[in-house]
Amino acid sequence: MLPDFPDSDPADEALRRLWQAAPAPEALVPAAEQRRQLASRRRNILLRKFFTLLCLLAAPLAMLWVWLTSPVGALGAAGLLLTGGALLGAIWRQQRTLRLFYTFPARETPPAYGARLRRYYQWQQRYGLPFYQAYVILLNTGLALFFMDIYRGRPAWQLVLPTGLALLTVVMIRRFSHHHVQREQHQLEQLLRGLDGLA
């Protein structure tokens, strides 16, 4: 019959003794103190989770409310739709990240979690940059269209706000230069290689 515990080979035994002789953690604090130290971080994470969920639910209602209460035409409505879509996308992504980093179902084994991490990084590698660029463009275009519509009859505002937003779009997109993107891609490839064998 095979033993329940790993073999008691002398070399193995020596390694096990060595492993278990590791020094005690320096911050050996009682459980209550640990809870006190973690309390604010836990609260922040729960608040972020709650807030993103609330935004996902409330954003369409807010858009509807603005559309009903503001004198917007077709141009303004299109702007609202674009802005809302961009915001919803960004919040969805934020919630996905929070879930990946802080939600651990009891049944999730390390290989399964490795697969989840891999999917996340693969997605980021393929669509991370286009997603960010699309978000910036949609958000600023939507806002520009909305402002052009509600400031009809006030040409100064109609010109200044969309021009400002266009400049902002260019600056935000140019921040991701070719070199930066290449480095980011390289790091993501390394990460994915590191997960080989796990999932």
Binding site: L2, P3, D4, F5, P6, A11, D12, L15, R16, L18, W19, Q20, A21, A22, P23, A24, P25, E26, A27, L28, A31, A32, Q34, R35, Q37, L38, R41, R42, I45, L46, L100, F101, Y102, T103, F104, P105, A106, R107, E108, T109, P110, P111, A112, Y113, G114, L117, Y121, Q187, L188, Q190, L191, G194, L195, D196, G197, L198
Partner: protein
């Protein structure tokens, strides 16, 4: 959080803190400060998820899974970060060499060179976990674990023989 959850957290923390820390230390390559940070990250996640724990697995198995998953996530994130400059500290007299600490450092370095999945299995073995629990944590059959461990032990022995001492490596 309910009083029952608080009591459960405290019990888990008291009874598993050292073991979790040793696993963290293994993932951090022997860096005790990073292991302290990682220990906190693990118990933060335990606390965040404890309310939803429905006994679909043994509590200790779940704790091990969270530990490993947090370590995987943390190692991946740390590898992504650009190298931060190490602050220059005033020179201090070197402590006398501790042979056991040197051996432990060597073991951590050897483990660090194993693939992620193999490192996990070997660390659980070193932590004296029974095969059944290792199989449960990793969701594999005991037979598979035994076969893989045989190969991993050989690789670890090779690594331990061929790794230079830390002083030589520096």
């Amino acid at each position: 959080m309910s009083a029952a959850t608080t009591a459960l957290f405290d019990e888990l923390y008291q009874s598993h803190q050292r073991r979790v820390w040793r696993l963290c230390l293994g993932y951090c390559g022997g860096d005790t400060e990073q292991a302290d940070d990682l220990l906190q990250e693990v118990f933060l996640r335990v606390w965040l998820n404890l309310d939803r724990f429905r006994h679909e697995a043994a509590l200790s198995t779940w704790l091990y899974r969270i530990t490993v998953n947090t370590c995987l996530q943390w190692v991946r994130q740390t590898k992504r970060r650009p190298d931060t400059p190490v602050p220059v500290l005033p020179e201090q007299p070197a402590p006398p060499p501790d042979p056991q600490a040197a051996q432990l450092a060597r073991l951590h370095r050897a483990l660090g060179q194993l693939p992620e999945a193999d490192r996990l299995l070997m660390m659980l073995v070193l932590d004296e976990q029974p095969y059944a629990r290792i199989a449960d944590i990793c969701d594999q059959t005991e037979g598979n674990i035994r076969v893989r461990l045989h190969r991993i032990r050989q690789r670890l022995t090779q690594l331990l023989h061929h790794l230079p001492d830390e002083d030589d490596a520096a």
